[in-house]
Amino acid sequence: MTAAVRARRPVRALLVVIALAILGVFPLVFSNPTTTTIAFYALIFMVSASAWNMFSGSSGYIALGHAVYFGCGAYALSLLANHLGVAAGWPVFALVPVAGIVAGLVAIPTGLIALRARRHTFVVITIAWMFIFQLAASNLGFTGGTSGLQPPTPLWGIDTYNRNFYYVAAVVLVLTVVLTWVVRRSRFGLQLLTIRDDEERARGLGVRVVRVKLIAFVLSAIPVGMAGAMYAYFLGQIFPQFAFDPLFDLSIALMAFIGGLGTLAGPLLGALVLESLQQYFTVQYGASQAYLIIYGVLFLVVVLLLPRGVIPSVEELIGRWRTRSAGSDAGPEEPGRTGDVVKAAGVR
């Protein structure tokens, strides 16, 4: 490890501490209900984008069907809460992890089938799954059909309501980020990266490609299921076309891209910025038809100017600055080099 990289560690740790502090006190400082609502949505998307990135960012397989897991989590929470007669309020939150597990279980068969395909086909299969689930939810009796389901509504006051949901979402976010960090740092994570770079070579080196991909896929579905559950509980209503929403799929992919695909902080940043801006935009300017044009143009501009996303661009910049000032080789770490591939396969 180069000196420059070692020097970055305390800076990173400091940034993490600051971020956690902000996360913790945010709703207390900015207590306006509009802000806390938007913050809650931002957290939901941060969880989802981060989890999505854990799979798609690292493996290179772009999944556009994670709404399946979002929706399954939402429906799982609503069905369980209603059938088990769980009291509205804090008890229902206990169902959030359960919803995550349900989503993970659903990810096993859907993932197995999708992952047999090559990259382009994989994308379309994930989309197809999304529509299948949406149609099933709209037409099966126990899912409430097109009228959807309503989980119990907690009887909290305005501020308490938003704050409680915010903190639960914040906890889920921290857990998700820890998960993505652990995966990234582990040998498993390296194996994923080698699959992205060259699947055939990875297989040749002994990486158990199918198993690795599937595990990553299922792991990425669990937080998304939890996000869906919290979302349904917050709104107090779940309809099939909003639970299984193709726009959700595109949004989380966008957020991860803009932040920086494959990075840890990228999806967080992307989700935070995109969701907040979108909500804000719609409230202030949604009434004008030009809103869509502005939104699209902004997108395009950001994507074309920062094709690798914000975080990698910033890192690159810092790296270049260090090169100029220190005069030593301090380029950004390149994942997927041969040494890593060999390590990932467990070969010494």
Partner: protein
């Protein structure tokens, strides 16, 4: 269930399948040649429908004659999109980035159309849009038959272009291996630009037929794109003939299930059949075996 209804469902499926093949043709070309997942295809179809609308309503030009204007215009648009956006995508992340970029393009198109035309639904009309051929006890609407024939003509032309011309060889060469193609003197950038132009040009025709058979507004593109992607993948990337067959198959299957069972489950069967077929033939019905990424 009486057999007339079943027969009608098959006939409807074939005719509508032709319309879908027309809409998907451009997509398969762009997807196959450029490695680009064009999410904007739905929006482009709607744009084509609106262009035909303007020509028909404000200038009184017949829907099919108007294609002589819209198709070239779309060709230029396609080349422009390739030059402005797609060329900037690096080859490595091309597929992934293309989703973002084309999604943004789709939103911009929808926004522009909303501003210009408003959100109310319109439909393309002509004196013949409700008339039908009466054959063997079936009523076959002119517009669907013409659309089907147009699909055959344009798909045939594309096929000829790709397999029997110098240009087409260049296109197929760049699909296989960009570096090798460049080495033998193919101007890959030009080939790509022209391919996208071609793909988008055909979409203008798809837009017109779509607009004549459905009421539409600027948001109508979303429902289309997922079906078109399914058809293209089922066919196998870059396969023109495959796109026609896949479209006919999928739409007919859906229509038959709608009659035999129920329309809501028919759509589910549509997507499920896609998954089933892809499980056995991961490259699509007519796709080539794995092409090495460039």
């Amino acid at each position: 269930m009486n057999s007339t209804a079943l027969a009608k469902a098959v006939v409807d499926g074939i005719l509508t399948g032709g319309v879908y093949a027309l809409m998907a043709a451009g997509l398969t070309l762009i997807f196959g040649v450029m490695d680009i997942i064009n999410i904007a295809q739905g929006a482009l179809i709607v744009l084509g429908a609106y262009m035909s609308y303007v020509l028909s309503v404000h200038l009184g030009i017949d829907l099919f004659l108007g294609l002589f204007i819209t198709i070239p215009a779309f060709f230029v648009l396609g080349v422009g999109i390739e030059w402005a956006f797609m060329r900037r995508l690096r080859d490595q992340d091309r597929a992934a980035m293309s989703i973002l970029v084309t999604y943004a393009v789709a939103i911009i198109i929808e926004g522009l159309l909303s501003v210009i035309f408003g959100v109310n639904f319109v439909q393309l009309h002509a004196s013949y849009t409700d008339s039908t051929f009466h054959i063997l006890g079936f009523y076959l609407p002119y517009i669907y038959v013409f659309g089907f024939l147009l699909a055959l003509v344009l798909l045939g032309a594309m096929y000829y272009l790709l397999y029997h011309t110098h240009f087409g060889r260049g296109v197929r060469g760049s699909l296989q291996n960009r570096t090798a193609a460049e080495l033998i003197g193919v101007n890959v950038n030009r080939v790509r630009a022209l391919s996208v132009g071609l793909g988008v040009a055909v979409t203008a025709a798809g837009g017109m037929v779509f607009g004549a058979t459905n009421a539409f507004n600027p948001s109508s593109g979303y429902d289309l794109i997922s079906r078109l992607l399914s058809i293209v993948i089922l066919a196998g990337l870059g396969s023109i003939g495959g796109a026609l067959i896949a479209a006919l198959f999928m739409v007919t299957l859906e229509d038959v299930v709608a009659v035999l069972w129920s329309p809501v489950w028919a759509t589910l069967v549509y997507y499920a059949s896609l998954i089933v077929v892809l499980s056995f033939r991961p490259n699509g019905l007519f796709g080539k075996a794995a092409v090495r990424a460039q």
